[in-house]
Amino acid sequence: MTKYLKQISLMLVIVMLVTALAGCGSPAAGENTASTSTVSQTSASAENTAPDISKKVELNIYCVGDASPGEGSNMVRDAVNKIIEPKINATISTEYLPWSDWTNKYQLVFASGEEFDGIYTANWAYYQAQATKNGFKEITKEDLQKYAPGLLTDLPEMAWDQAKVNGKIYMIPTTFNEFPTVHFAVREDLKKKYNVPDITDLDTFGAYLDAIVKNEKGMVPLDISVMNNYSDLQQIFNTENEYAVVGNVSERNFVYKITDPGAAIVNVYETPEFMDFAKKMYQWKQAGYWSKNAISNKTPNATAFENGKSAALLTNALQATNYSEQWPVQHPGWEIQVYDSSLGKKQIGTPYIGSGLGIHATSRNADRLLMFAELARTDKELNQLLCYGIKDTHWEQVGEDQVRYIRGNTKVDYTDGLSWFFRNEKFQLNPTGVYSNYDPIFETARKNQVFHTLQAFNFDDSKLKNEVAAVSSVVTQYAVPIITGFMDPETGIPTLNEKMKAAGADKIMAAIKEQADKFIADNK
């Protein structure tokens, strides 16, 4: 008896150890090889024949941003599936990485080895970082030719060039008439109440904020959250000086002058203009234009504005259309107006890679996802469904090329992360019934739009990861409080520049310059 028991217990131990080991190590590796081999098989077999779509698949797509508050997301997704299923025998399912925590989760969905097919990506949404780590599957021109030839003709060559990281394409870009310029959105009703003149630049904007601080005790004039909104202030500074961030570097201080065709890279923190701007921000903060809590505040400016806590909002012209439509419905008596901050300066458009779709490296349905992307971009009905929602439920067409959103019913509203993947200039409609400065702002922007070779340039920081990490931490500790007026620039900026040097900012700058020069020479 004891002998048996011993044997049995020994057996059990062995079995448990083996299962434990098997459970830990091998499947991950096995799965990887399995998925890569299926992908290569399908692409190999497709070389001869038309794409094989006999097997029904579900495409899992991650969107950045919140889902619509009610049923809106599901309604649109079902409508999309109804259109695409007969055509490519596939359906989509969507997951959302909400704004509040997307920066962490974006990284996690890649690191965790989760299986999904597509994910939103953009120059501001870790496109570079994930592409260099092979988080995305490369999209070759041959693949496109085979599965999505429509995309090749629909997107300009420039767009594919911008998407290149180390010579390889990892995303399907978008074409979209948009400008990153940050404008001033204000409560026109309050502005009229206190007889503030129209806003044309920072100083007149300051006058409006001043009127609020003196008269509206329950409000913060510009209730920003330093963490969420410092980049808006920096963007205003960049517009004022005709600067654009170079090479999609994660830190926004390395810029080039958009009117200068050469590659003169500037570190803005070292310019006298930045000192002047920072001094103004310091005065503004002292004057109470934003709260002393802003540095710890986590509520974004837009939310504060929506709740009536903030009297002004920094936003781009297009985003503002949503706000000016939706919020006056929620708060009767409100009037929202947006004022141009561009001062007639030259502006650069949002790059093609300002939004796009990346294919996950381990996706087994890359071919079908490409077919879906082709449909979504080139089929007018599907494209508008994705961008605006269901016709006559979420929006209605006005005249030839205008759209009026139907908003304010939180149960069905479509305000979704899914709407940005496939924006196509050709099917874009102009919003109507929005704030009255919409058309002039866009007219000015188009009139002053310039193009620059460096728009398509992507900085390769793979040799300088340590420097980039060190600089990143210096920026949060010093530059962010300076831009938002929490640190006296007279003493703060010298410290900032000293710390930046120690962290290797000069090395980064030299590398950017070298790569940018080469890029301009190659693309003459």
Partner: protein
């Protein structure tokens, strides 16, 4: 040969007990030993396509960023000092509380107090961060509303560097004291009641009882608990520091710990290898300090040492 036979003999004799040990051994094997292989990430540049073991080796390159910024010493010092203060404050409060509670005669008061003190432990730091923000909010916060109604000047806590040391220590104690005191209460319950009765007959008062009986009896527990805490003295409580301080750059020089510093540096580049390198750095420091402390205790009184 004899050794092997001895081991087998031993095995045979205690097989039931050894059999019962299996779940624990397996647990440690799977969740503690197997993941140790992941340390290699600290020396690699992770490439998702190549996987953990297939990625390129980069030597000590991943450790550089931490030392380059000149903040390494400062954040290491902050981590160590904060944890040291946390250990001292929390342990002494926990012991005091557990002694008070065990001396309490009214069962209902005792249970209610214990429950109320335990509760903060279950409140997420995210929520605590929101509390703190709303208490110290300059315009509309609870503190300044009270000050204003008393006719006093509002205080700008968010911009006052010196205040946060105390705020952090306070909230850490508030969070951990109730939970930590459970261990000591269990130890006190285990003390032989006859000791107290005998001392009462000898005329000892309650303070003498606490000093001469209770504290010496729970001394082994205290030492073990302190040793366990010392073992993670270079690990900052990330969720606490991050939720309370957040991205308030003005406070970083006095409140930044290794974990928050690393998080901030790598948010943009998202390099897994560098994060692992920082984790390994902490582990090595923790390992050194636990060996040293345990060694000292072994010298002084080997009975109390962990191993």
């Amino acid at each position: 040969m004899k050794l092997i036979r001895d081991v087998f003999q031993d095995f045979k004799k205690n097989k039931v007990i050894l059999f019962m040990l299996i779940p624990a051994v397996l647990y440690y094997f799977i969740f503690m030993y197997v993941p140790m292989a992941g340390i290699v990430i600290a020396f690699k540049r992770l490439d998702y396509a190549a996987g953990i073991f297939g990625s390129d080796w980069v030597g000590l390159d991943n450790f550089k960023f931490f030392f380059m910024s000149g903040q390494a010493f400062n954040v290491t010092k902050n981590t160590f000092l904060y944890n040291l203060v946390f250990i001292v404050v929390n342990t002494s409060l926990q012991i005091t509380v557990s002694i008070f509670l065990s001396e309490m005669r009214n069962k209902y008061v005792k249970k209610t107090t214990q429950t109320l003190m335990l509760m903060p432990y279950f409140i997420s730091w995210v929520v605590v961060g929101a509390f703190i923000y709303n208490i110290f909010n300059y315009e509309f916060g609870a503190l300044n509303t009270v000050l204003k109604s008393l006719g006093l000047q509002s205080v700008d806590v968010m911009g006052t560097v010196g205040a946060w040391k105390y705020i952090l220590v306070f909230f850490n104690a508030w969070n951990g004291v109730g939970y930590g005191s459970i261990v000591y209460m269990a130890a006190i319950t285990g003390i032989d009641k006859e000791l107290y009765e005998a001392s009462e007959l000898d005329g000892a008062n309650i303070f003498q009882q606490i000093w001469r009986i209770t504290i010496p009896s729970i001394k082994p527990t205290i030492i073990i608990m302190i040793l366990l805490n010392v073992g993670s003295i270079f690990r900052g409580n990330f969720s606490m520091f991050y939720q309370i301080i957040g991205n308030n750059g003005l406070l970083f020089n006095s409140t930044d710990v290794i974990d928050t510093f690393v998080f901030r540096s790598l948010m943009k580049t998202q390099e897994v290898g560098m994060a692992s390198a920082a984790g390994l750095y902490q582990s090595v420091l923790c390992f050194a300090i636990i060996m040293i402390t345990n060694g000292i205790i072994k010298r002084v009184d080997s009975e109390y040492a962990l191993f």
